[in-house]
């Protein structure tokens, strides 16, 4: 088994201003490491052929040497051993620092495979002031790349200031104060996690402009109806525009502008064409002596101008709507993407059966994050309210009383009756149109002279048609329903409405 020595720069042994700083800590670290090695289960180590990497740091020297066992990379079990060693070392360092009136805080250790995130160790005094902060490069961590050593997170129990220290700048307290006030702007604070508009991913209106709107609460039918209404309106305007312009062209431009001007206009496009056209009309108007003709031209041009304005306004409105919907979709996609990534991380942890220490805590944090993301999405949909749960329940109950239910039922019934009445009217009107050929035949046959049962039938039918209303429906329905393979449902439906 080959052993590779990796020279490591000493990061915890003093500074230019204070050369003796932390020497005591390193000494304790060394001693604690030796103790921990003695305490390890030697039988387990022998069985698994594990060699423990040793750390040598002599007082006064500027380097720490770490022995790296190559095969250890392949042996996951070794991580546990290393983890134990590191845990003991860091606990010892914390205790010593505490005795010296200082607290050692270590955070941001890479949690994931191949994560390039830099770790840092902060030494702060008991008041929370940062005395020293040092970056720990990955190569110096004595951990083979990709190893997950969560123990450093556990060395100092997370306290209330933990989340604040994550955003704390290393420069000093001035910045810290600034960030404190900035944190007040966080819109989503949940179980110590903070998300919100300052996070580019969830910026919402800040990112997508002031016109950012929450997801429409309209149902599919309303949306469809609205879209249809929009398009219909648009088509109507275009049709009106085309008709007017066409008429205008036919009535005036052909004669008025003349072939020469029309040819000139054909060579132009867009705004230039419009400008030139107006210039031509102005020229013609200024030359026109007949006041009636002038008035006619002006009126037509006014109509055309108005339609033009309306059309561009409508198009702009439609474009805005499309744009807003696109922005909303983009925003939703980002949240959804983040949700999927979080879920996937959670799944991975589950699959690994929370093998490593700290996995369960990570899982809980991710779960919290997921809830937070859902909350963000709900808020953007205007579904998060400032009302308390009790208030909301009370408000909901007020709208769900039997009285309110009765109001809803009354309006529903009224709407149903209105619809049936209007439907019946439409049906009758269309039936009259469709029945004309049949009635013509019956009338003809009647003129020729009916006898017996057919006469009675035809008389009833024609009388019904002449009288109109219920008799007509009855007569026609009875005839059609008698002949139709599938009975016409309207008969039953509108009979209810009578």
């Amino acid at each position: 088994m080959s052993i590779e020595k990796i020279p490591i720069k000493k990061e915890h042994s003093g500074s230019k201003n204070d050369p003796l700083k932390n020497k005591e800590i390193l000494s304790v670290l060394k001693n604690r490491k030796k103790e921990s090695l003695k305490n390890l289960d030697s039988k387990y180590l022998v069985e698994n052929k594990i060699e423990i990497p040793s750390i040598e740091a002599e007082s006064g020297h500027d380097s720490i040497e770490v022995e790296k066992v190559e095969s250890a990379v392949e042996n996951v079990e070794k991580k546990k051993t290393l983890a134990k060693v590191f845990k003991m070392m860091t606990t010892a360092a914390t205790e010593v620092a505490k005795k010296a009136g200082k607290v050692v805080k270590m955070d941001g250790w890479p949690h994931k495979k191949n994560e390039k995130k830099k770790s840092s160790a902060k030494i702060v005094d008991m008041k929370g002031e940062v005395v020293k902060e040092e970056e720990m490069k990955e190569a110096e961590s004595t951990v083979p790349p990709g190893w997950y050593i969560p123990i450093l997170n556990e060395t100092v129990a997370p306290d209330e200031t933990e989340s604040e220290s994550k955003t704390e700048s290393p420069e000093g307290l001035d910045d810290f104060d600034k960030e404190e006030s900035f944190e007040d702007d966080y819109r989503f604070v949940y179980k110590g996690f903070k998300y919100g508009d300052e996070d580019e991913r969830f910026a919402g209106e800040r990112k997508y402009g002031k016109d950012f709107v929450a997801k429409s609460k309209k149902n599919a039918f309303s949306k469809w109806a609205e879209k249809k209404k929009d398009n219909k309106q648009r088509r109507k305007i275009i049709k009106e525009y085309k008709n007017n312009v066409k008429k205008l062209n036919d009535d005036y431009f052909k004669d008025l502008l003349g072939e020469k001007r029309i040819q000139e206009l054909r060579r132009l496009s867009g705004d230039n064409k419009k400008m030139r056209e107006w210039e031509m009309v102005s020229e013609i108007l200024s030359d026109e002596r007949d006041p009636i003709k002038r008035k006619k031209i002006e009126r037509k041009m006014e109509i055309r101008n108005r339609i033009d304005r309306e059309l561009s306004r409508k198009s702009e409105y439609i474009r805005e709507g499309v744009d807003l919907r696109r922005k909303r979709r983009m925003y939703s996609r980002e949240i959804e993407k983040e949700m999927r990534a979080t879920k996937s991380e959670m799944e991975d942890l589950k699959k690994s059966k929370f093998r490593l220490p700290g996995d369960k805590e990570d899982y809980k944090d991710l779960k919290t994050k997921l809830e937070m993301l859902k909350k963000i999405e709900r808020e953007k949909e205007n579904k998060v309210s400032k009302f308390s749960k009790e208030q909301l329940a009370r408000r909901k109950a007020r709208l769900e009383t039997p009285e309110m239910r009765a109001v809803f039922e009354r309006y529903r019934k009224e709407l149903k009756n209105d619809l049936l009445t209007a439907g019946k009217k439409t049906f009758t009107g269309v039936l009259t149109i469709l029945s004309k050929p049949v009635l013509g035949l019956i009338e003809g046959a009647r003129a020729g002279g009916f006898s017996g049962a057919l006469e009675g039938f035809s008389e009833g039918f024609v009388d019904g048609f002449i009288k109109g209303g219920g008799d007509l429906l009855k007569a026609t329905f009875s005839l059609f329903n008698a002949l139709a393979v599938i009975p016409i449902k309207a008969g039953v439906r509108y009979a209810i409405a009578y």
Binding site: K217, K218, S385, Y411, R412, T426, L434, L454, L483, V485
Partner: protein, 101 residues
């Protein structure tokens, strides 16, 4: 179904002709029937959904005090009813126009 056998041959002939014309019209009548039924039903379900939306919006609407919720709900329901009926009426007219043309 009408039993044509009870009519004499001349009457039977006339009736057969009438039936033939009616059979031609029948698909259109069924089409109309379905259109009207769909319009009526979809308008009613739109009203039901709209009522749910109104309720949800009002519950979360911070500008409306608790004691005014019922009044606001009734007003909104009435508006929704009228709006939906106006849309449906427009559609009814369009349907009639289609056949007239």
């Amino acid at each position: 179904m009408i039993n044509l056998e009870k009519f004499d041959p001349k009457e039977k002939e006339i009736l057969e002709e009438i039936i033939a014309v009616m059979k031609k019209v029948e698909p259109e009548l069924h089409d109309l029937d379905n259109k009207l039924e769909f319009l009526e039903e979809s308008s009613l379900s739109e009203f039901e959904m709209k009522a749910k939306e109104i309720k949800e919006t009002l519950i979360y609407d911070e500008t409306i005090p608790e004691e005014e919720l019922e009044t606001a709900y009734i007003k909104e329901l009435e508006n929704a009813k009228e709006e939906i009926f106006a849309n449906a009426k427009q559609r009814f007219l369009e349907i009639e126009k289609e056949y007239q043309e």
